[in-house]
């Protein structure tokens, strides 16, 4: 093998490595966004569980029962996501009752450190954090 051929081969290998790195970056980004969308759906489902669509039994009070309702809805929504999404990590959901202009609202915060397969997530280190607020009733 001549030196020129060696250099050409090295260049091809370098291009391939660059393409693999780019593909990995893309796969990480897509997985991060997909996970984030799933967390958002779960948080919205939690808010809806005690929101105006929940009926009289869904009236929001600062006691354990509505929090349980919210958590159950969040978990059910998360469980309905695809196995590929759920495999990216274990989410942490924080449910808070709050007030906005005298109206009770519920806040659901979803956070997760995504375990990305390519290990290139240096720029996504914290994982997605979602906060969704919604209305309860007086």
């Amino acid at each position: 093998m001549t030196p020129a051929v060696r250099r050409g081969s090295s260049a091809v290998v370098a291009v391939l490595v660059a393409m693999v790195l780019v593909a990995g970056l893309h796969a990480d980004g897509v997985a991060w966004l997909r996970t984030r969308a799933a967390l958002h759906r779960a948080a919205v489902a939690g808010v809806r569980a005690v929101g105006p669509a929940a009926g009289p039994s869904g009236a929001l009070r600062v006691d354990p029962a509505p929090e349980g309702t919210v958590r159950a809805a969040v978990q059910a929504a998360w469980s309905s996501e695809s196995p590929a999404v759920r495999a990216t990590g274990t989410p942490r959901f924080v449910v808070r009752a709050a007030q906005h202009d005298g109206w009770p609202i519920v806040e659901v915060e979803a956070a997760m450190a995504v375990e990305l397969p390519w290990g290139l997530a240096f720029w996504l280190a914290d994982g997605p954090v979602i906060r969704v607020r919604g209305a309860g009733r007086r």
Partner: protein, 385 residues
């Protein structure tokens, strides 16, 4: 510089340039693709925010009749939902008048989102309430039913969609009657007329004297059991008659009548068709003798549309055919049938709950307002294009 050295130098330079170009192009493509995905996701989240805002707005309006609180509440909902675009350049939520309906427009703009906005409003709904009004109601229970019907009407009147409509059917004894044809509630005059009519709503009229506890009915007995002449029209002359031999309780004619009312409604198709069946009496056999007294007196109800079942029917057949009818309406016209059982009517043909409707029970008719509210809370929103 020899030729070989020059080639080596150019070769290395060219290889480096190829790698650099490949990397730059690749990263650029990834960045563009991810940005497009972020924008698409932000648009979906803005739409979810608009949905939550619209629900909040409708809830505030239904609860208070005012929308002052709804505006700021919807902003809270929107700003809390738009995490992807954070830090946000702007989030706006504004109530948009749209044929008198509640509509919210949520606009999200930020470093990743150039312009994402979505709107939602309460979808129009056609509601028919079918009340079993034969013998199971106490005067107090029926009074609570009246209050619940008026609260449903008030709720629909607070934040009406221009195409929201309501109708009322009474059934009992194997018959059903169209007491209130399906009509728009957004028109004040019609709303007032419906309200006045429902305030005077009573059970089916039996031959007898009005009186006793809380304005109840004291039916005649013996030879006068079906004497609707003294007093004329019986206990509640404005209501359809119930003869002594009409002991059946069968929701089938009410379902048939409601189906015709839904089909006959003109105008655009509603977002939801909802049938709410209310009963305080369990299903009872329609005997072969049912309707003979009525026929003997040659009485025909001419004040409102009437539907009756043909022939005797056992409770098993009543349940089977009523459930099949509700399922058919759900499939054919997307009717969500809910069933509310109170008192002895608890568990009234739970299989009637079809098409996304619910089956709710309570020992006390006082819970009917909340039960109607729970049914109405399930009516969906629609996106504003």
């Amino acid at each position: 510089m020899t030729g070989e050295t020059w080639l080596r130098g150019r070769g290395a330079l060219a290889a480096g340039a190829v790698v650099l170009v490949a990397w730059t192009l690749g990263v650029g493509a990834v960045a563009r693709d991810l940005r497009a995905r972020v924008d698409a996701q932000a648009a979906v989240e803005a739409e979810a925010a608009a949905g939550l805002a619209a629900e909040a707005g409708r809830a505030v309006l239904a609860g208070t009749g005012r929308d002052e609180g709804a505006a700021s509440l919807s902003v809270a909902v929107a700003s809390g939902s738009a995490g992807l675009a954070a830090p946000l350049a702007s989030v706006e939520a504004a109530r948009v008048p749209r044929d008198g309906a509640v509509a919210w427009r949520v606009h999200v703009a930020g470093p990743h989102v150039s312009d994402a906005h979505a709107s939602a409003q309460a979808a129009s709904v056609h509601v028919i309430v079918a009340v079993e009004a034969s013998r199971g109601w106490t005067p107090r229970g029926f009074s609570q039913l009246r209050a619940a019907l008026l609260s449903l009407l008030a709720r629909m009147g607070h934040a009406p969609h221009a195409e929201d409509r309501v109708g009322l059917v009474l059934f009992g004894g194997g018959y059903a009657w169209e007491v209130t044809p399906l009509q728009r509630v957004a028109e004040e005059l019609r709303h007032a007329r419906i309200s006045a009519r429902w305030k005077g709503l009573e059970r089916l009229s039996r031959a007898g004297l009005r009186g006793g506890r809380a304005g109840g009915c004291l039916p005649h007995v013996g030879r006068r059991v079906d004497d609707f002449q003294r007093p004329r029209g019986g206990c509640y002359p404005t209501m359809p008659r119930l003869y002594a031999d009409e002991t059946g309780v069968d929701p089938s004619p009410a379902l048939a009548l409601a189906g015709r009312m839904f089909d006959a409604a003109d105008g655009p198709a509603p977002g939801t068709r909802a049938l709410v069946v209310v009963a305080a009496t369990p299903v009872a056999e329609v005997p072969a003798s049912s309707g003979r007294s009525r026929a003997r007196q040659r009485y025909v109800e001419q004040r409102m549309r009437e539907v009756r079942v043909d022939g005797p029917r056992t409770p098993a057949r009543i349940v089977r055919e009523a459930v099949a009818a509700a399922r058919g309406m759900a499939g054919r016209a997307r009717v969500a049938t809910s069933v509310l059982g109170v008192g002895d009517g608890r568990g009234f043909v739970a299989g009637l709950a079809q098409g996304g409707g619910v089956a709710l029970d309570s020992p006390d008719a006082a819970a009917l307002s909340d039960m109607f509210g729970e049914v109405a809370d399930g009516w969906p929103l629609e996106r504003v294009p």
